[in-house]
Symmetry: C2
Subunit: 281 residues, 2 copies
């Protein structure tokens, strides 16, 4: 899903052979600009130049929609990027550090990190949450749908996180934003469906004694939808937020660099006799 | 150095959103073909279609030069790619596995691995060895040059390896190829300079009790030069060889996948009071 966009971003940032990472803060802004512009062009609209008087998030909405967002929406978009900015040694950040440890450019590191984010175990969960909301349709359908899914041993998207054993603190903020946007638009459908999913899911998990709670992706997709952003842009926006964290990690890696070079333990076959390929059966 | 080429390769392999890794063996061949074709086009020459009756290495030389290499050269080129194919959890391979662990595509994994190979601590050493040979010029200059460099605490390129505490077994094979090519072309300049560097370097290391020996990059650059390959293509050729190892690791990662998600230990400051940016001094 992110491929066509990350591909586009790569074309812009890849082809510089030299790179001074201290000067690369512009990348943080550029990725959001590229996403906004790309989305506009997909709709046959013109590029809009960024403004200097808006926050990063509000600027994205302005460049994306062509009109200044109201202060609440601008602030929420800005905080969404901020909440996605950094999250320790997640797979994409770890990727960026391994690449940086070779003293490769930060363009290569960030491009590699985007490749990791493209993986379905890393990016894309909020898109799937939104698809789940649409599949469920109404709040009255939630209990049956969730119970059926769990009975079939399917995963409920946006639930659980490798690091947290409690509710992801980012999801608490996201839930609050969704509530505010629901009140503003006087439309609580997404909010109510998600809260009901959370309730039913928690009941089932408590029966099994498994503490699994919503992660940042559970509410963020609905927040983006209510900001007028289509699901295909969710993972690119994750990249637009996380790029500041990637860059920070790249800089940290370089301060006291040591090449990542793990040793592998062989756990395969004992030595086997070589059989020429034409003699194999 | 590899950027302009790896960029080119990426354009070819990046833009497929779906990817069945079992079908991607064609990438192994494609990268060498792309390098050969790119190098020809840089010289204003036409694309040459690959042949089915040559080895992978001989085919590269054929597509690169436009005429069939003699059997010795074809075999050496093929073995050079083979010697570079796999080397455990080196930084680029590790990168490819981290990206693969997100269930991203192998295109993203390989693109990320190339980004790691671009780093000066991973790829590019054989180019620097060749530059060192040219800087030294003649075998008579070697002793003085190496002693001066070591006295200035400079690194001698192509020496030492994170994994080996003896001579890199690949460099023994490379040395033999260089000798064979030197005999064939009746030109022992590269060979003699490199052997003299190895001798002087070993003497100095033995004085210090440090066992540091040539790695695969020490002889490979001179081998490539004698095959008619310019230094700018050395790291792309490393990628052309290593891609089969990257793919093998990606496939292995998927067999029993678990997302790479290391935990970080905080080693920074104690909590500090937040000071708004305009109030900082």
């Amino acid at each position: 899903v992110v491929a066509y966009l990350s591909g586009y971003v790569q074309h812009r940032i890849q082809h510089s052979a030299t790179c001074n990472c201290r000067d690369t803060l512009h990348q943080v802004v550029q990725i959001a600009s590229v996403i906004a512009t790309y989305a506009r062009m997909q709709q046959g609209k013109e590029y809009i130049a960024p403004r200097t008087d808006l926050s990063h998030g509000a600027n994205f909405l302005y460049m994306f929609k062509g009109q200044e967002p109201d202060p609440l929406e601008g602030e929420i978009m800005d905080k969404c990027l901020l909440l996605h900015a950094e999250h320790g040694f997640n797979a994409s950040t770890f990727t960026s550090r391994v690449v940086a440890s070779t003293l490769s450019t930060c363009y290569c590191s960030i491009s590699a990190a985007m490749g990791a984010l493209y993986g379905s175990l890393h990016g894309g969960a909020n898109e799937k949450v939104v698809a789940m909301i649409e599949a469920i349709g109404t709040v009255d359908n939630v209990r049956q749908w969730v119970n059926d899914a769990l009975d079939r041993k399917e995963r409920i998207m946006g639930m659980g996180h490798r690091v947290y054993e409690a509710k992801d603190p980012r999801s608490i903020v996201m839930e609050d934003y969704l509530l505010k946007l629901s009140e503003k638009h006087n439309d609580h459908r997404y909010y109510e469906i998600l809260k009901e999913i959370e309730t039913v899911f928690r009941e089932r998990m408590e029966e099994k004694g498994k503490p699994i709670y919503p992660n940042v992706d559970f509410y963020s997709g609905a927040v983006y939808l209510m900001l007028g952003i289509q699901p295909i842009l969710f993972t690119p926006l994750f990249a637009a937020g996380r790029v500041s964290g990637w860059l920070a990690h790249i800089l940290e890696q370089r301060v006291d660099n040591r090449l990542f070079r793990p040793r592998a333990l062989y756990s395969g076959h004992e030595p086997r006799e070589y059989i020429p390929i034409e003699e194999r059966t």
